[in-house]
């Protein structure tokens, strides 16, 4: 039974031996934009090929994705020139909705792409919209759910699924239409490690099944499995080739705002010309080059940055908490945060990280146990009363930004505390300089980039001069360059004496910046100790789906617990002498 006729025109073609996608001389400038978002793009994708697209925020990655199903220029207008062909036929005359069966698009924000009350309805949604007969929908439903591992979830409310399950559901709902190509636009940005692992496992599986895939990602390590990598900078392709050709170009990747794989960094620093495809591969290259390196069964690690033993700021003692009519979210948690510490809190979504942070700042009160702030019972103070002691930066900066200008946004907090104008101005100047936004004082915050908005959110909390700053996933959605800027800022604050508690899902940030790690699972504290000790807890890491940075795993094979590429190289070179 023929289900649908794609409304795509151009030269007639059978589709056999034609590329899945072909783009010729594509240039696009957003309406009101000064510079083109895409410039002279020429690219094609073979049927069954997996292409990874990388670049900094604003490089044109999402714009390129949206061109493939005509969201650009249909829904987001501008000056468009060039040709886009699917299966050998131009899509110039097609509308977005007509291409639903040709291009399956999965977006970063999974909340915005789920519309139904059950998983089955969600998968059927697109098929119903294109007018597919009921029998055909039923026939496709089970295979699509099977493909993403959600068989048996048919009657579940999508809002009750985990982030990874939601994103897999979104993928199932586009797979059900059996599109020519599936485009995944940063599909794991908002996911925890478990969710990321689930989605990338699914992507690997889809690749093996021969589905044409285009994956946009910030993290280069995840794109090693691609057939081809495309690097975009300022709307143009600056590098293209197999991962083995592109990944070793560490400098170029960094110039383009892409985090080069840490294994390639190590190889580069050691003068190894080849691209390591895995940790085992990297070990082999290194052993060939540095034969005197120690055997792989030893585990040692120099402990640097010993845990701080200063005065406690926050003490949480035997705290239990559960939301009304819900399960227990925190179960007998005790911990102390001391002045000047840098602590990372890790764990799956739902493990209690954010609840714990909200308890620390007084947004929630424990069912039992106590929270002490500099020795005083926290529950007897209002949140506003402790804002000057503990600052809390929410994951999404847009949850607090409302003012007309950057300056007004920063001054909002100090003014709420009734500080005089001179003091308010002094603090504003100080924190704007700290977050490198001093030249944006009069700018409308909504015109800033995501990274700048995140730094503004930090600045507006810093203006209250807290002694402890809690940051809830401060780098989510930021590209490599912005991540580095944010973490440089956080490090400088810590060096200036502000205690930092950072909730994060990113292993390399834990490795490079934190000095202490707290791991939560199902509301219980499973680990609290030094970073290096944490990264040798193999069983704990595995069961928590928290993958150590590759450079740490590589270091373990040489008997050390390295937390960065530079540290590992220094260690290896020292041992090889």
């Amino acid at each position: 039974m023929k289900i649908e006729t794609p409304i795509i025109g151009g030269p007639s073609a059978s589709g056999i031996d034609e590329p899945a996608v072909r783009i010729e001389e594509l240039t696009f400038t957003y309406a009101g934009g000064r510079e083109p978002a895409l410039r002279g793009i020429n690219a094609s994708q073979r049927v069954g090929e997996m292409i990874g697209v990388m670049g900094a925020s604003g490089a044109g990655k999402s714009t390129l994705a949206k061109v493939l199903n005509r969201i650009i220029p249909e829904l987001e207008g501008g000056e468009f020139a060039g040709v886009v062909m699917l299966g050998g036929r131009s899509i110039a005359q097609a509308q977005v909705r007509d291409l639903a069966g040709e291009v399956g698009m999965v977006f970063q924000d999974f909340e915005s792409q789920l519309f139904s009350t059950t998983v089955a309805h969600e998968v059927a949604f697109a098929m119903e919209r294109v007018g597919m007969p009921r029998e055909e929908i039923l026939a496709r439903l089970a295979p699509a759910l099977d493909a993403v591992g959600l068989r048996g979830f048919e009657e579940r409310d999508p809002t009750t699924l985990s982030g990874g399950q939601k994103q897999r559901l979104a993928i199932a709902s586009v797979l059900a239409l059996r599109p020519r190509v599936v485009v995944l636009d940063e599909p794991t940005t908002d996911l925890d490690p478990q969710g990321r692992a689930e989605v990338f496992a699914l992507i690997r599986q889809l690749r093996q099944e021969g589905i044409s895939l285009i994956v946009i990602e910030h993290e280069a390590e995840e794109l090693r499995q691609c057939d081809r990598i495309i690097i975009l900078r300022d709307g143009a392709i600056v590098a293209e080739g197999t991962p083995a050709m592109v990944m070793p170009q560490v400098e170029l990747l960094e110039e383009c705002g892409v985090n080069a794989p840490s294994l390639d960094r190590v190889a580069r620093m050691l003068g190894i010309a080849r691209h390591p495809g895995s940790v085992a591969d990297a070990e082999e290259h290194i052993r060939k080059m540095l034969p005197r390196t120690p055997p792989s069964d030893a585990v040692s690690g120099r402990e640097v940055g010993a845990l701080v033993e200063s005065k406690p700021i926050l003490e949480i003692e035997a705290v239990r908490f559960g939301y009304p009519e819900g399960p227990r979210v925190l179960d007998d948690i005790s911990l102390t945060i001391r002045a000047g510490e840098f602590v990372a809190i890790v764990g799956q979504n739902g493990s209690g990280k954010t609840t714990l942070a909200k308890m620390a700042v007084g947004l929630l009160a424990p069912d039992s146990g106590q929270v002490l702030l500099e020795g005083r019972d926290r529950t007897k103070l209002r949140p506003a009363e402790t804002a000057r002691e503990i600052g809390y930066v929410f994951q999404n900066p847009d949850h607090q930004i409302f003012a007309d200008t950057v300056e007004a946004e920063v001054k909002f907090g100090p003014r709420n505390f009734g500080l005089d104008d001179r003091e308010v101005e002094s603090r504003c100047a100080e924190v704007l300089a700290a977050v490198a936004l001093e030249n944006e004082r009069a700018t409308d915050p909504f015109l800033l980039g995501k990274g700048q908005r995140q730094r503004l959110a930090v600045a507006s909390v810093l203006a209250l001069r807290p002694r402890l700053l809690i940051l809830d996933e401060p780098t989510t959605g930021l590209d490599y360059r912005e991540q580095r800027k944010m973490m440089k800022l956080v490090s400088e604050l810590n060096a200036a004496g502000v205690a930092i508690v950072m909730i994060t899902h990113t292993p390399c940030l834990v490795a490079e910046y934190a000095r202490r790690v707290i791991l939560l699972r199902a509301g219980r504290k499973l680990f609290d100790g030094r970073v290096r000790e944490f990264f040798i807890q193999d069983e704990l890491l595995r069961t928590s789906s928290f993958k150590p940075p590759e450079v740490t795993s590589l270091g373990r094979r040489f008997g050390t617990v390295a937390l960065s590429a530079a540290e590992l190289v220094e260690y290896l070179q020292g041992r090889a002498r």
Binding site: S112, F115, A126, V174, P383
Partner: protein, 265 residues
């Protein structure tokens, strides 16, 4: 967080045709509309509780307990003190209380409660997709039905977002409770702007995702669930017609009103 009220059960009400469920909601509203007398309302509200028990909507009714109190009590009190008919028990320039005004206020409060309860029962037993199908069968344009279903999905998300924004501003020392009533409303600007901007962004993302899944491609989408009328639907239809007729007859004969206190008099 579960954002819909739907309770996944297999009661007779759950299995009714979506169009019939919409008719049932209309019949409930119709019946309650005609009756002012608290005593006459009692069997109708009792029937709603029986339905709530049958469909397993107890948790939702419990969830709305404060809503009932917040809506019903002010309605009752407002009508009790402002309805000026009957022999006064208390007669002050603003406050007037008589047997009729007390009964009238009580009746109004019970009516509002009964209407809210009917809506809760409807949403507890009807998926938003069914609502969309039901409205389509009643002749409403497909897009209209879908817009309503989307609203049901979005409202809880926006409420969630608003609560987060309130927390974020409070942590910057902002006091939402300062000043008089008008000042308090004005003080919610730092909440409204982020929620509104977030809603715009979400709406934009959602529009793209919808179009990318073929939304709007033809006005007659198919449905993978087959909705057929059964004997139970015919029986329910007759029962609802009877209830609606009885309610209207109660009004017509005066049993539905409070003697000497009807606003129609």
């Amino acid at each position: 967080m579960k954002t819909s009220l739907y309770i996944d059960n297999h009661s007779v009400v759950h299995h009714l045709h979506p169009t019939l469920k919409i008719f049932a909601l209309f019949a409930a509203f119709w019946s309650i509309y005609w009756i002012d007398n608290p005593l006459t309302l009692v069997p109708f509200i009792a029937a709603e509780f029986v339905v709530a028990y049958a469909i397993g909507a107890g948790p939702n009714v419990y969830r709305f307990r404060w809503f009932f109190v917040l809506i019903v009590l002010p309605t009752m009190i407002t009508w009790m003190i402002s309805y000026r008919k009957g022999t006064p028990i208390i007669n002050l320039p603003i406050i007037h209380a008589s047997k009729q005004s007390i009964l009238f206020g009580l009746g109004k409060g019970m009516k509002v409660a009964a209407l809210v309860l009917a809506s809760v029962l409807f949403l507890s037993s009807t998926k938003v997709e069914e609502l969309s199908v039901g409205l389509s069968r009643l002749g409403f344009p497909y897009r209209f039905g879908f817009t309503i279903t989307l609203a049901f999905r979005l409202v809880p998300l926006f409420i969630d977002s608003a609560l987060t924004v309130v927390d974020a501003q409070r942590l910057r020392g902002y006091d939402f409770d300062a000043g008089g009533p008008f000042e308090r409303v004005r003080r919610y600007v730092p909440v409204i702007i982020p929620v509104f901007m977030g809603a715009l962004r979400k709406a934009n993302n959602m529009a793209m995702a919808l179009e990318a899944r073929g939304f709007g491609r033809g006005n007659d989408p198919t449905s993978f669930i087959e909705y057929r009328m059964h004997t139970r639907d015919a029986e329910a239809f007759v029962l609802l017609l009877a209830v609606g007729t009885v309610a209207f007859m109660l009004y017509w004969t005066g049993y539905g009103s409070i003697p000497g206190a009807s606003i129609h008099s």
